[in-house]
Point group: C2
């Protein structure tokens, strides 16, 4: 009996993650994943055309789980504090991921040349969370009125130094904690004026 | 006759750059560099203990040349404009480097785990240039009074999204140009207030 395509897809992702974790990203080929699943490589290729597309799908799945609670930062607190907490929570989450699964860093480096969908998805999730805070802050008079989406975009990019894996993978925790506070302080200060 | 150690060092760096450029960083070993120079690998190791230390020295040499004129941005112009021009010039320079010498990107990815001195040197050069602008801006009333070094540090980190090779290597020029303007706008807005 043939299994539904969705289940096969999940099987492939699970096995790919397992092999990337145990052997390292560079050392696990699509053929290895197929072999471990008792499938033909052609069958895996039907679902994923490249290792990069596997990375994309693994990252997407990871993000749905990881960032489900992102909006749950206490909305009663002042917007500048919420912005700091958002940045700190994201940074801590990424650091944990990198520590627990070193293969993620290898995976990110080896797909750095590819324009993966997961990068855009990540930006959208974080930018939306930032935008919500900026809108609330402007409503409560904690921030100046903003073109909120544009401001959220600038804030997202400014936060790359504490969110992007390449920026945080080899940095000391105390240095990162300070950097995060300082960059959020900069963003919060900028949001006191209308960025036009 | 033995050559002075300084000259031998330069010879090694020149040959290493040439081989990295022509073969790719990953495909040129220290033994290859020694062989191409008619030297023993032990002799190369005397000067450079690892490929990472070669990268460090190549990058340091590159920066001295590249950033010699960094302070020469017209100091009569308003500080916010100078800040934008500094960011744009640095970004353009890095983009040119990456385009002309793709091996640089490979080199950066493969040493991403190493804590290289050139990274600290780069931060110092750029932070000093930023600090000079921030000090002038505060003097001329274009910025609020600042703890200038700390503000320059925050600005430097916020600019990683348009300066770090991993952030810019695969991005469209028009997207990068906009991002650079938006992040500098954010920084300039923040500097209107005292960041304490």
């Amino acid at each position: 009996m043939r299994r539904p395509a969705g289940e096969t897809r999940e099987d492939i992702l699970n096995k790919a993650e397992e092999l990337f974790r145990t052997r390292g990203y560079a050392n696990a080929a699509i053929a290895d994943i197929a072999h471990a699943l008792g499938m033909s490589p052609a069958n895996v290729f039907k679902h994923f055309h490249s290792k990069a597309s596997l990375v994309d799908a693994i990252a997407a799945r990871h993000m749905e789980v990881k960032f489900a609670g992102l909006a749950s930062v206490d909305t009663n607190r002042p917007a500048p504090e919420r912005l700091l907490e958002l940045a700190q929570r994201l940074m801590a989450s990424h650091r944990r991921d990198l520590e627990e699964n070193p293969y993620i860093f290898e995976m990110i480096l080896l797909t750095a040349k590819d324009d993966l969908q997961c990068g855009h998805r990540y930006r959208d999730i974080v930018r939306n969370a930032l935008e919500a805070i900026i809108v609330d802050g402007a409503k409560d008079g904690e921030f100046a009125p903003q073109r909120s989406r544009r401001a959220a975009d600038a804030a997202f990019h400014a936060l790359a130094c504490v969110l992007h894996p390449v920026m945080i993978a080899n940095e000391q925790p105390d240095i990162l904690a300070t950097r995060c506070e300082e960059v959020v302080r900069l963003i919060n200060a900028a949001l006191q004026t209308t960025l036009d």
